[in-house]
């Protein structure tokens, strides 16, 4: 058996054993979906934009993956505090493989949560434009999840406590999310916001999802994919680099 595989498996097992985590992880996005989807649905329709719930579902799926993959960094901090990290750091394996195994595990659980949100949306009436889109969606969510999990590995390597981690969430992850077009179309926003969104990789993940699932796009799927791939490579590099300097 392989080191990456066993560390991946560890994350997946831990996820399925913590039932409360699954409920919590899906609860928040569901609240967004219901409150915003039904709350703003009528206004959105009156403005001539069509079905808001349909527009929102891809954004909320991306949100779920963003925040759960980000949470993986907190798991690294817990591993530091509870000592398990030392077990891996004294083992004759490269830091890169340790980082990748855990991050892929964290990414997998994030994708599972994103797909849970998808299935719940099916129940409340969401329909993708075709069923093949589900596969493409999986690819997009995986890219997003892997890049964010690698990023949060890097963060978890040097942030010392939960407060520090919350600060990163407040000042980096929330803005990434709210300024990404996950909740509103980027076609009619003020110029400053459009420019910010264009520099935000999250916008491209959301856009790619929306294109595949409901056929609406702002940037075009090809550009979305290129940006996502580049982001994944850069953040993987960041995670690997930071993790090399981790101290137990």
């Amino acid at each position: 058996m392989n080191v990456i595989y066993i560390l991946w498996l560890r994350q997946v097992k831990r996820f399925f054993r913590a039932k409360s985590r699954i409920v919590g992880a899906v609860g928040q996005p569901l609240l967004f979906l219901l409150a915003l989807g039904y709350g703003l649905g009528a206004v959105y329709q009156r403005a001539g934009q069509g079905n808001y719930l349909e527009f929102l579902v891809p954004g909320i799926m991306a949100q779920t993956v963003l925040f759960s993959a980000m949470f993986y960094g907190a798991m690294i901090m817990f591993d530091k505090q509870f000592g398990f990290l030392k077990e891996t750091l004294v083992a004759p394996v490269s830091r890169l493989r340790i980082m990748l195994g855990g991050a892929l595990g964290g990414a997998t659980t994030a994708v599972i949560q994103g797909m849970l949100v998808f299935f719940i949306s099916l129940v409340i009436g969401f329909r993708p434009q075709n069923w093949l889109a589900v596969l493409t969606t999986l690819v997009i969510l995986s890219l997003l999840a892997i890049s964010i999990a690698c990023f949060s590995s890097g963060i978890g390597s040097f942030v010392e406590d939960m407060q520090g981690f919350q600060a990163i969430n407040q000042f980096l992850v929330f803005p990434l999310y709210f300024l990404s077009g996950a909740l509103y179309p980027l076609d009619h926003v003020p110029a400053w916001l459009r420019i910010v969104a264009e520099f935000n990789p999250m916008s491209y993940a959301v856009d790619a999802m929306r294109d595949t699932l409901i056929g609406q796009t702002h940037f075009g799927l090809a550009k979305d994919f290129i940006v996502l791939l580049v982001t994944t490579i850069v953040l993987m590099g960041f995670g690997a680099y930071r993790f090399r300097h981790i101290e137990a």
């Binding site: 595989y5 560390l7 560890r10 831990r14 509870f82 000592g83 398990f84 077990e87 004759p92 137990a248």
Partner: protein
């Protein structure tokens, strides 16, 4: 017991900012020996073990483990030792068996060789019947036993034990030493340990090093140390060497931080 050194420290110094945790320490440990490193709180015992086990890089000096330079040939050095840290390092969400299995993969043991070894070791530490219990439900003593079994899994040449018996009852402490002695005889392993229970060192160690304020101040068997200090047992010798004043029991800032975090997360 052969005379060939398996652990060698040459002029090893470790500084954390302005704190000198280990100061120009040199000594050797023979193959098959049971070696105790004693010293007051904050003396530099854990730091020495962390340097030997590649977790912390020395500021200067050379450490050699089973013939491998610890800083230059990290992976070879890492293959040669097993360790039980001062603080627990098992994954509480996983079962005892899963913790062992994960360790086997980290040390690239094949499943076929790992299985019987895991069973034998879990039986040795009397946890085989509890192998499918999540470790978070284990008592402190059970966790320690598991960590010892795990440290032995990949047939290390050297087993490091940093205060392995801290907080354990007398029965468990005796049991632990029985396991360690048994494995050491069977596999000709070297054991390097620290403890604050001097009677444990007196009963088990072949040789003892005493470190204080980061400096090695004495080295020898219990007999040699008592002779040197004209005392009758190790505890008296130890007190004669290190003095009777209490150390400021200040734990390292890092350890203190971690303890705080743990308390906070548990709440």
């Amino acid at each position: 017991m052969s005379k060939e050194p398996i652990i060698r420290l040459e002029h090893v110094t470790k500084k954390f900012g302005t704190v000198t945790a280990v100061n120009d320490v040199s000594f050797e440990t023979r193959r098959g020996e049971l070696f105790a490193l004693l010293g007051p709180n904050g003396a530099g015992k854990s730091t020495t073990i962390k340097m030997l086990t590649t977790l912390v890089k020395p500021t200067s000096g050379t450490l050699t483990l089973a013939g491998h330079n610890v800083t230059k040939a990290q992976d070879k050095a890492r293959k040669s030792f097993g360790i039980v840290f001062q603080d627990p390092s098992v994954d509480g969400e996983l079962t005892a068996y899963e913790n062992m299995e994960l360790h086997a993969v980290l040390y690239s043991l094949s499943r076929k060789t790992a299985r019987p070894r895991i069973e034998a070791l879990l039986r040795l530490v009397e946890l085989w019947n509890r192998r499918d219990t999540p470790v978070k439900n284990f008592s402190g003593g059970m966790k320690r036993r598991l960590e010892i079994a795990r440290g032995l899994l990949h047939h290390p040449h050297v087993l490091f034990l940093d205060e392995p018996t801290l907080g354990l009852d007398t029965q468990t402490r005796n049991l632990l030493w029985d396991y360690v002695q048994k494995m050491r005889r069977e596999e000709n392993m070297t054991v390097f340990f620290t403890t604050h229970y001097l009677e444990e060192a007196e009963a088990n160690a072949d040789r003892i090093g005493i470190i204080d304020h980061g400096e090695l101040i004495a080295l020898g068997s219990t007999k040699e140390l008592t002779k040197q200090t004209k005392t009758t047992n190790l505890e008296q010798a130890y007190l004669a060497l290190t003095g009777k004043t209490v150390r400021d029991e200040e734990v390292g800032p890092h350890e203190a931080w971690r303890a705080r975090q743990r308390a906070r997360t548990m709440r």
